[in-house]
């Protein structure tokens, strides 16, 4: 039952734990998330592709696993790190244990880890790559593997999580929204659909003319994993879209791509924001939204010139840019996740605003 497992960091730190989920080995950038609920949404968020997720809340697995709590068909993180994994679970909705779910999908995990110490370690030293293994328990070999793991910086990952071919998420609606999928979270699609949209999802690399041939009322650029600066084709495509007159909306990676397409710089953050409690101020209303965030790159405020865009939303913790309202075309973008899942629903209004923009343009 308790199979020993190890977690090794690229800087030589090695800690012992117990394997959970599928046995085996997996690696990636070790990052942490401070959400106290929503572990399954986090594990299945395509933006986390290639990352090892460490949950700061100690008890994970308490309420089991449930199909409706997923953001993609399968787990997207490369591994899970936990302080006190709940093998047993309790929730009316649960269909299986989280252990079972992980095992079924081949997701590697480790429990019994002093996650707080590792969080402080990363906070002090910056994010770094790591490897988890229950098959190789040799410290040196694991450290070597962690060091050899490709860095997230300069890594294009969206192509690995985008859909293979375009598909309809919802067939009918008042407005047609075309979603450029760089690893879209299902809840974005659900939100559009719930607001009465016809939603069609296109692979990230779809040529713009093919998307336009569906005659959408709005173009949406999704969230997704990796370094936006390593996606020149996507940036070109976004730039092209900016001149056709359709309202554009971007979330997370989509926001960064829109910024890059306008010549606004993006940089890799030291630690990044990953959690469901980040305060974001809407600068036009003065209202504060508690938001879900998941990003390791951010828009450089210095490079936001007034004629290109204005900063519409600001992070109250570190004053980083959380939203842009563009000047040269109809559209806006946010760094955080208004679709939540997991997290507060404070920012749902953005979807409505966008659809309002689409209907105005249409008429």
């Amino acid at each position: 039952m308790s199979l020993p497992s190890k977690l090794a960091l690229a800087d030589g730190t090695v800690v012992n734990g117990i394997a959970i989920g599928a046995g085996g080995e997996s690696g990636g950038e070790l990052c942490f998330n401070t959400s106290m609920t929503g572990y399954q949404e986090i594990l299945t968020d395509p933006s986390y592709h290639g990352q090892i997720m460490m949950m700061t809340y100690p008890h994970i697995g308490n309420y089991g696993a449930h199909d409706e709590d997923t953001e993609a068909a399968k787990p997207m993180v490369s591994a899970l790190v936990v302080r006190a994994f709940s093998q047993e679970y309790s929730n009316l909705l649960a269909q299986e244990s989280l252990h079972n779910y992980m095992d079924r999908h081949g997701l590697v995990g480790i429990t019994g880890i002093d996650t707080r110490r590792l969080v402080l370690h990363i906070r002090k030293r910056g994010v770094m790559n790591a490897v988890i293994s229950s098959t190789d328990l040799d410290d040196d070999s694991l450290i070597e593997k962690a060091q050899a793991w490709p860095s997230m910086e300069g890594l294009e990952l969206a192509s690995r999580v985008t859909c293979d071919k375009s598909y309809a998420f919802s067939d009918a609606g008042q407005q047609r929204i075309a979603v450029c999928d760089f690893g879209v979270k299902t809840n974005i699609l659900r939100t559009f659909a719930a607001l009465g949209c016809e939603v069609r999802v296109f692979p990230g690399a779809t040529p713009l003319k093919d998307v336009l041939s569906w005659s959408p009322d709005g173009l949406f650029f999704s969230n997704g994993p990796g370094d936006p600066r390593a996606m020149p084709e996507a940036v070109d495509c976004v730039r092209e879209a900016m001149i056709i007159g359709l309202p554009l909306f971007g979330i997370c990676l989509g926001h960064q791509l829109m910024a890059l397409a306008q010549g606004i710089e993006v940089f890799k953050m030291y630690v990044g924001h990953r959690g469901a409690n980040q305060p974001v101020k809407n600068l036009s209303t003065g209202h504060v939204e508690v938001t879900t965030q998941n990003h390791g790159f951010s828009v450089d405020p210095e490079s936001v010139s007034a004629e290109l865009a204005e900063v519409s939303h600001l992070n109250l913790n570190d004053q980083t840019v959380e939203g842009l309202r563009f000047k040269k075309f109809e559209g806006f973008s946010v760094q955080y996740h208004p679709e939540a899942s997991p997290g507060p629903h404070d920012s749902r209004y953005l979807f409505k605003e966008y659809l309002h923009m689409c209907s105005k343009t249409k008429s």
């Binding site: 409706e68 002093d114 707080r116 409690n277 980040q278 209202h287 913790n317 629903h345």
Partner: protein, 943 residues
């Protein structure tokens, strides 16, 4: 928006004396609010009649009125002080009700006083069941379903439409809910419905679906005037619906909700808060979830700072009262910084990376004939909070904090027999988590325990995990506990005492500790930082856990550890926290770093900006020793934290750890009745004839030789626990038997009872030079025989002759010098027929320290604490700092919570029963505060 400038002076209404349901959490929140407002430059005027609080200390507010909490007093103060605004949300229901009363009279408007921090209409909505129901219905928030019935037939139909029994019935328009209750079985249906219909003047009953056994949750919200709302904390009750939340074991954050369920709850809570007005401040919302179908209903909403918000503040590190006070004067959340990180915003939702467990503390043993079943009426007198990295660790630490002799969740004594466990589990009793463990020990299945208790499976599984771990450990010798195994036990919160008990070989706690340390397994100290490590935090607020790295960096300053007084209970309450807070400040003023150890979430001492370092830990030997070994202080102060701290003195002293103040062997002289009587004999001080006994038989023999009436009491207890006056042999037998049921192996003390004696309480401070300062002599109005905590005390004495007073002073000084007291001492005496008898001396802070301080205007506890650390009384005396400012008399009146125990007979005796106190200043003995208790002095005296 920055703070309001149209306001300069603010009136704060306190919550008054401590009663069950409204306790010292309001001292904490009120103190925080006062300090925050003063820091903002406002002048703060305070009314609160509770002398035992830090809130009513000159350090807290600009002007303090220790007046009765009535509309008249407030009118008088308002007319004198002319405040611009009143903040009523920090004083519990008392504060709100008073503000409401004056609002209805149009008084605030008439006086141009703005009511801030609350919307009075909001209070009406939340207090009025029907208005609340209607509003929730309007905004589409689900509630318990109900319908009115006018006949038995109709009631039966309603019950059927609600899905059958059980149901709750509430007859319309009956006083105090008369005739209401739960109908469990068809057998009682007819009788209860008919009775309800008959009792109701309009002959109708409201039939409501029963939510008994549903899961219960609480959310703590804050809102600013821009309508930004944040959730500070979610709390999940381990005890399901049916047990008052103040009586429930609760856990933070919620453990068993998916994100979608939680967000639904969050959205609903925000919607509810927005529906009841636009005030800026704190709010608490309670929900129930049906475990069968997941349906969520709103239970209630409280638009003010509450017991739960005190808990939520301590649980997350987010200072709710402080922020709420600043929001009330116009700030918005985004303008404020998080006090803990100092760099990030206060407008966020704390992320925690540990588990909080709160367990209430009850005092049922004080009330003969009390119904111990926990219901919707709160019965607890205090609570402990514990912090652990996991639920199991946190739960065991909470049990260690309770100070009821447990070293964790059981596993430290013989397991009770199966029938006993079954009996205890059947109803909601205070020891439920322990009995769940016991049930698993006896092999009960998860389903069986769930069916009886309705405690969520997740919590049951966690407790079962402990039981499995215990079973494994029971097979092993101490030496078989390898590093992995022992670390695992420690990570689940097991104390060394429990481990020593569990292993097969006979080992002591010390041996278990030594084995552990030989394996280098040490507790580490982690930071409470509101953000789960995401940002650096500066707040020195720590808890222990068995992790790999300590975040509590030890400074190279000289340090003093102050041991707190643990959970509030009758006999040891907020007064001791008052002394501890002053102790902390004195320690700092004497140039030391002050380190506080305590586990009571309701107190000021556990506010993270009081001491230089706060360890939110059980005041439990192992945990205290771990902290001392980590911090290596110069010494420890034990005389401020009541018996909790004092009882660790022996062990500290054995370990060679310095105790600042009266040394252990001297304290023991006072505590040990035999030794103390020898001293009195040697000093020629009269005392009542006494004897000691170890068995019932012996006790009777002693009593027969001393004579009657005789005072029977156990040793080493506080608040007169188990103390009785016996008038014959049969009573001695009965009382001693009762004591042994509760306190086996105790040494029973028997003193001749001085009939019709006048009881005297003396507080004094002695310094290292033998200088003794008598801080106050208090004469009790009630005759000796009523516990001093339950007596009305008059300072200075109202009817003693000069020669008697001289005698009292002389004895006090003589005893203080003989015991070589360093710091505080309290002596109890009885005057009978112009003779003074000494009953007992306690070389520690007494319950009356804050009363004397407030009465005389002298910071007694602070001066005493400085004396403990080496200051001389002459330094203070020469500056006139020991001169009393009291004119006339100060009267301390006890306050009881009888209404919570209707089945208990109201009587006063040697066992303390009051939960709080008030102070009154009177010029002459014709004042009602003197006359009333004087006339009634013998009324409730029992034996």
């Amino acid at each position: 928006m920055p703070r309001r400038t149209d306001i300069k002076k603010i009136l704060l209404i306190g919550s008054g004396p401590i009663v069950i349901g409204q306790a010292c959490e309001f001292d904490y929140s009120g103190t925080q609010a006062c300090r925050a407002l003063r820091k903002e430059g406002y002048e703060v005027v305070l009314i609160n009649s509770n002398p035992a609080t830090i809130m009513t200390d000159p350090i807290t507010a600009d002007r303090i009125y220790m007046d009765e909490l009535t509309a008249e007093s407030i009118r008088r103060i308002v007319e004198k002080e002319r405040p611009d605004a009143v903040l009523p949300t920090m004083g519990g229901q008392t504060g709100l009700n008073l503000a409401d009363e004056l609002q209805r009279q149009g008084y605030w408007e008439e006086q141009d006083v703005k009511v801030i921090g609350v919307d009075i209409d909001a209070i009406h909505i939340t207090e009025d069941r029907q208005q609340f129901r209607d509003l929730m219905e309007k905004i589409g928030v689900d509630q318990a379903r109900s319908r009115v019935a006018k006949s038995l037939l109709e009631a039966k139909e309603v019950i059927q439409s609600l899905g059958g029994l059980p149901v709750v019935i509430r007859p319309s328009f009956t006083l105090g809910g008369a005739g209401g209750g739960i109908i469990w079985s068809p057998k009682e249906l007819e009788r209860k419905i008919m009775r309800g219909l008959e009792l109701s003047p309009v002959h109708e009953v409201l039939v409501e679906e029963s939510v008994y056994g549903w899961k219960e949750f609480e959310l703590e919200l804050l809102r600013d005037q821009n309508d930004n709302v944040i959730i500070i904390c979610t709390i999940e009750n381990v005890d399901p619906m049916g047990v008052h939340t103040g009586d429930s074991v609760t856990v933070a954050p919620a453990q068993t909700l998916t994100d979608k369920q939680f967000q639904h709850m969050r959205d609903t809570a925000i919607q509810m808060m927005r529906s009841i007005g636009t005030f800026a401040g704190g709010c608490n919302v309670q929900f129930g979830i049906n475990p069968v179908d997941g349906r969520m209903i709103a239970i209630e909403i409280n638009p003010r700072v509450s017991r739960s918000s005190a808990l939520a503040s301590k649980a997350t590190g987010y200072p709710i009262a402080k922020v709420a006070a600043r929001l009330a004067v116009g700030y918005t959340l985004d303008e404020l910084k998080n006090d803990v990180t100092r760099t990030t915003s206060a407008c966020f939702e704390p992320a925690i990376d540990y588990v909080i467990t709160k367990i209430p503390r009850w005092n049922f043993e004080k009330f003969e004939g009390v119904d111990e079943e926990l219901t919707t009426q709160m019965k607890a007198v205090g609570e402990v909070m514990s912090i652990g990295r996991t639920f199991t660790e946190s739960l065991q630490k909470a049990w260690q904090s309770l100070e009821i002799g447990y070293a964790g969740l059981g596993a430290d004594r013989e397991n009770p027999k199966r029938p006993h466990v079954r009996e205890r589990l059947r109803k909601s009793y205070w020891d439920r988590t322990l009995q769940i463990r016991n049930a698993f020990i006896h092999g009960a299945s998860m389903d069986e325990v769930y069916d009886i208790t309705r405690v969520d499976f997740w919590f049951l599984q966690q407790i079962k995990m402990l039981v499995d771990l215990e079973k494994e450990t029971r097979q092993l010798r101490l030496q078989d506990l390898t590093e992995d195994k022992l670390l695992n036990l420690k990570r689940h919160g097991y104390s060394d005492v429990q481990i020593a008990w569990l292993v097969t070989d006979e080992v002591t706690e010390e041996e278990a500790r030594a084995h552990r340390l030989s394996l280098e397994i040490k507790s580490q100290f982690l930071l409470v930082d509101t953000c789960a490590g995401e940002f650096p935090a500066v707040t020195p607020y720590f808890y222990s856990s068995y992790e790999t790295e300590s975040e509590s960096t030890v400074s190279n300053q000289k340090k003093v550890v102050i041991l707190g007084s643990g959970p509030n209970r009758i006999g040891q309450g907020i007064e001791f926290d008052y002394s501890c807070v002053h102790g902390v400040q004195a320690v700092q003023e004497m140039g030391y770093e002050a380190i506080m150890v305590n586990c009571n979430p309701e107190t000021v001492s556990t506010d993270f900006d009081i001491a230089d370092k706060l360890y939110f830990e059980p005041v439990f030997w192992e945990r205290v020793l771990d902290i001392i070994e980590h911090e290596k202080p110069e010494g420890v102060i034990v005389q401020l934290g009541g018996q909790t701290a004092l009882k660790l003195a022996g062990k500290l002293s054995e370990r060679g750890i310095k105790i600042f103040g009266t040394p252990y062997d001297r304290m023991d002289l006072a505590e040990n009745r035999g030794k103390f009587s020898d001293i009195l004999k040697e000093l020629n001080i009269p005392f009542p004839p006494y004897g000691m006994a170890r068995t019932v038989y012996e006790a009777v023999r002693v009593a027969e030789s001393i004579g009657y009436p005789i005072l029977v009491r156990p040793s080493y207890v506080l608040g007169g626990q188990g103390m009785r006056i016996a008038i014959n042999k049969e009573e001695v037998e009965r009382y001693v038997t009762d004591i042994y049921k509760l306190l086996p192996d105790n040494e029973i003390l028997l003193d001749l009872f001085l009939n019709n004696g006048i009881e005297i309480d003396v507080d004094a401070v002695r310094d290292a030079d033998g200088d003794v300062w008598i801080t106050g002599i208090m004469q009790h109005i009630e005759p000796a025989g009523v516990h001093s905590g339950d007596s009305t005390a008059v300072l200075p004495p109202h009817s003693l002759s000069a020669s008697i007073l001289e005698e009292i002073r002389k004895y006090t000084i003589t005893i203080a010098n003989r015991l070589e007291v360093l710091g505080l001492m309290n002596v109890q005496m009885v005057v009978q027929d112009e003779s003074v008898y000494v009953i007992e001396a306690n070389p520690r802070a007494s319950r009356t320290v804050p009363f004397v301080a407030k009465a005389t205007g002298i910071p007694v506890a602070r001066i005493a604490s400085k004396v403990i650390l080496g200051a001389r009384l002459e330094e203070f005396r020469s500056q006139g700092l020991l001169d009393s400012k009291l004119k006339g008399y100060a009267i301390k009146e006890p306050v009881f919570s009888w209404s919570k125990f209707p089945e208990v007979r109201k009587e006063l005796g040697p066992e303390m029963k009051s939960t709080g106190e008030t102070i009154a200043f009177v010029d002459a003995l014709t004042d009602k505060h003197f006359k009333r208790p004087y006339e009634m002095r013998n009324l409730y005296l029992s034996r």
